[in-house]
């Protein structure tokens, strides 16, 4: 596929309580595999997906953190997190499992408007 669109995947849900987090990430990886310009935007409870040291084995789920760690293999490096979502949850970038650019809501709104496609989960 020669066309490369700007596709943002917006992550709004926490991990493990529903399948949305994993489905969003699978979608992001599929877009990257098709050479699209993928941005991952974590807002609201979606920022919880970024926490380090997730141990979901006892609840019978695969680690979302480990799946996120494979993003560089797909050349996905545009990761953004909502500053207010992090601070409301008492989170700092040091708590996160991978590097993200922290943006305020205006910057995220601008980013979303620049996309060809926005897929929000």
């Amino acid at each position: 596929m020669s066309t490369s669109k700007q596709i943002a995947i917006v992550f709004r849900q926490p991990p493990y309580g529903s399948s949305f987090a994993r489905e969003a990430l699978d979608t992001a990886m599929a877009a990257a595999a098709f050479d699209q310009k993928v941005s991952l935007v974590f807002i609201g409870d979606g920022v919880w997906q970024l926490i380090a040291n997730q141990q979901p084995q006892a609840i019978g789920q695969r680690s979302l953190e480990k799946q996120l760690a494979t993003l560089p293999l797909y050349d996905v490096d545009r990761l953004y997190a909502d500053a207010a979502a992090l601070s409301q949850r008492g989170l700092h970038t040091g708590d996160l499992s991978l590097p993200v650019e922290v943006l305020d809501s205006d910057a995220i709104a601008t980013l979303l408007k620049q996309q060809d496609v926005v897929l929000s989960f």
């Binding site: 709004r12 807002i43 809501s105 709104a109 979303l112 996309q115 926005v118 929000s120």
Partner: protein, 95 residues
């Protein structure tokens, strides 16, 4: 861009979250249970963000709300919903 919200503002953060990333140039379309945000005190908080509030008339009518919406909110039918999608993009759904 076009934002589509399908949840009532009571008890679900979809609308509140949407409004944080919406601005005056965007259109906000309320569908399904989202139409309840077009009634009573809610439209004020929406209009503070953007004047372009639309609500799906088929979903309003299903809920017995036609005629109860704020005068500053515009009802559109499914044909209007399609038109909004043609005129604005990207399109983000909040649920």
């Amino acid at each position: 861009m076009l934002h589509i919200v399908n949840k009532s503002p009571h008890g679900n953060p979809a609308l509140r979250d949407c409004l944080r990333f919406c601005d005056r140039n965007d259109v906000l379309l309320l569908i399904e249970d989202g139409v309840y945000a077009a009634i009573g005190e809610h439209p004020e908080s929406l209009l503070a963000v953007t004047p372009n509030i639309r609500v799906l008339s088929e979903d309003l009518n299903a809920r017995g709300l036609l005629g109860r919406i704020d005068s500053r909110v515009t009802a559109v039918d499914y044909a209007g919903f399609v038109q909004l999608c043609c005129e604005h993009h990207p399109i983000q759904s909040w649920f």
